[in-house]
Amino acid sequence: MTMIKRGFAALAAGALSTALAMPASAEPVKFDFWFGLSGDLARVVDTLCKNFNASQKDYEVVCTSQGNYDATLQNTIAAFRAGKQPAVVQVYDVGTATMMLSGAYKPADKLMEENGYKIDYADYFPGIARYYATSKGEMLSFPFNSSTPLMYWNKDAFAKIGKTEAPKTWEDVGADLKALKDAGYECPMAINISANESWQLMEQFSALHNQPIATKNNGYDGLDARLEVNKTKFVQYVTDLKKWYDAGLIKIKSKDLGQDMVQAFASGTCQVILTSVGDHGTVGRTQKEGMKWDVAELPVYAGTERKNSLVGGASLWVLSGKSDAEYKGAAAFLNFIHDPKTALFWSTNTGYIPVTKSGFDYMKGQGFYDKAPYKGREVAIASLTASEPTEITRGVRLGNFTQIRAEFGTQMQAIFANKVSVQEGLDTLVKNGDAILDRFQQTYPGKTLP
């Protein structure tokens, strides 16, 4: 009885307050946001959505996780074809070219302008902004969860070989791995060679060394770009990795085999890994008691003038075909995410980095990077802003890039299993990748990237 009474009272109070706050419209405008994160990260996104809804009364965002990036894109496409698409959707970095040609979006910068929000696009780190902008610099989507890879190294193990700093060149890495092996470490370095690691092994390596992945400035200048990783510095890199693998300096770690590289590093089994700054939190939470470790920028070959690394993660696209009221809500939501305070919340609870200079400065000002669990993450910003982006280090703009990454995984496995030589494997990667690009170009005849 009391329960019911209390319920009625709450209802009445709720109705009253809503009525007082918004005499004209009783209900906030609802709009959908679909995203691809799951588990811990999905809970953070849910909190973010709640914070947005609590911050104002006019709009209500309904946030739904679709499980992973692939599924989000598939479900959104299906919904779009059925006319039931969400207003805002999170699309991973490699889906950018596909999205740009889809004709299914409303450019983010236009949306903000129409709804009276002034965004300073120069505030975004250039390496992040250019990945999601047209060749003329218009932002089509807003970066959301952004990351870049770092080298994680075990300080305790390196101390055993008399080192107090992370190796800066690949030449040094080779020598250090050898020394670690001689010092009795079974697994000096762990890598994985599935499709996903194309990101740190092929894409980031090429960017740091200012080497192209494909012609036409990595695809920015046309759909007729073709791969050329079989004749860049990347060949030497794969050759070295293979050499170190054969010498037992590198072990392959993956989930299929029982332990992925992040676990292998956190447990102290392997001493060096290359992975996203997004894993910084995971390593901190799951590391072996008392283990000392740190992060550093990915190494480059001696004599290389280091360039900026590429952004990874995903961005928020606003889809076409929604009502003006929903667009107003979407714009308010993007503006909320853009806020430096949201950046602090987001980076504290995930491993992702702030995407704007103001967000980074705000977080520095709050002392975020001085505290133990977050210390080191500023290296990711240093890596992303190591240089002004060049024509090649703006990003990768290739169609069906997911399939090209899959082909990368296949050929790397063939190389590491001694089925083919490094050069043969990379030649096949280029040949099959070009066939994938051909197919993409045929699917969009006469179209050009914006």
Binding site: D70, S102, L257, Q259, T402, A406, A417, R439, Q442, T443
Partner: protein
């Protein structure tokens, strides 16, 4: 005299058939037709502007070495896993049928595996067969490098075969046991009194009498190994290493859903459908002749 219901007008008959036809059309012909249409075009994932390319999709698939590799892998997988699952189930069912002590317990326990969803059992086998952590780690310690499904294609193939067969042993077992139990006890007892041993009785009496079941299971197992293997491959090997376990059904998934190449995937599913049809016809044409129906 035979009585039968007749309809004065053919329209009434059609009327009664319409709901059924509608269902069949909606759930079978329409999607199948759609797949055929897609396979003859290049589909833009987001819709709008589809290009008619005729048989180009089929031509490009059939001229792709990776695709032929995927057909070979599917056939190897189907052959070995069907053989393994049926043989083990047959032996287990024959033993359980002999009503040894505890045979009722075996009956229950052996049926369980089929109730486990493919992804769940794939997860379990991923741990069991992991080279560094699971059961095979012990073997690897004795012979270093013996088991490495991460880089050795044959090992990866073996691991998905084991997982798939393990599941279908349970399924086959139910049918085999039912078939054995349908054989009149008196036949076996008579043979036993005539002095024939267990093996003799199996080959001369039981085996011929259960050939219809064997044939049925053969068709089902082969068909399922082409279609139900998806969850196991996705979790255990993701088609790797170097495409060694990229079975046809998995390739359709990764090209279509992950790669957003709807047309290529549609063409591949039509080829897969045709292959299953051909295999089934082959089985009915050549193997069914050896089956004894009562």
């Amino acid at each position: 005299m035979e009585k039968r219901v007749t309809f004065g007008k053919w329209t009434i008959g059609i009327l009664f058939a319409v709901p059924q036809l509608l269902l069949i059309f909606t759930f079978f012909y329409w999607p199948a037709g759609q797949a055929v249409y897609w396979s003859l075009t290049l589909q833009q994932p987001w819709g709008g502007g589809n290009i008619w390319v005729g048989l180009d999709n089929f031509r490009s698939i059939l001229s792709n070495a990776d695709y032929w590799n995927s057909i070979t892998a599917s056939l190897v997988f189907a052959g070995i896993s069907t053989g393994l699952a049926m043989f083990i189930a047959l032996v287990l069912a024959a033993l359980t049928d002999r009503q040894l002590a505890g045979s009722r317990l075996y009956r229950v326990v052996l049926i369980w595996p089929y109730g486990i969803a493919a992804p769940a059992l794939a997860m379990a086998f991923r741990f069991i067969l992991a080279p560094e952590a699971g059961f095979m780690a012990v073997v690897n310690r004795v012979w270093p490098g013996f088991w490495d499904p991460g880089l050795d294609g044959a090992d990866a193939m073996a691991s998905i075969i084991v997982a798939f067969s393990w599941k279908y042993v349970g399924y086959n077992f139910i049918f085999f046991l039912a078939a054995f139990q349908a054989i009149p006890r008196s036949l076996i007892e008579a043979a036993a009194m005539d002095g024939s041993g267990v093996i003799r009785r199996f080959w001369d009496i039981q085996f011929p009498l259960i050939t219809p079941t064997i044939f049925f299971l053969l068709v089902i197992n082969i068909t399922e190994s082409f279609q139900d293997s998806f969850g196991i491959v996705d979790i255990m090997t993701a088609g790797g290493p170097a495409n060694a376990t990229n079975l046809m059904v998995y390739k359709i998934y990764s090209d279509g859903f992950k790669g957003l190449d709807y047309s290529g995937a549609a063409a591949q599913s039509i080829i897969l459908m045709l292959l299953i049809v051909v295999l089934t016809i082959f089985q009915f044409r050549f193997i069914e002749r050896r089956v004894h129906y009562r």
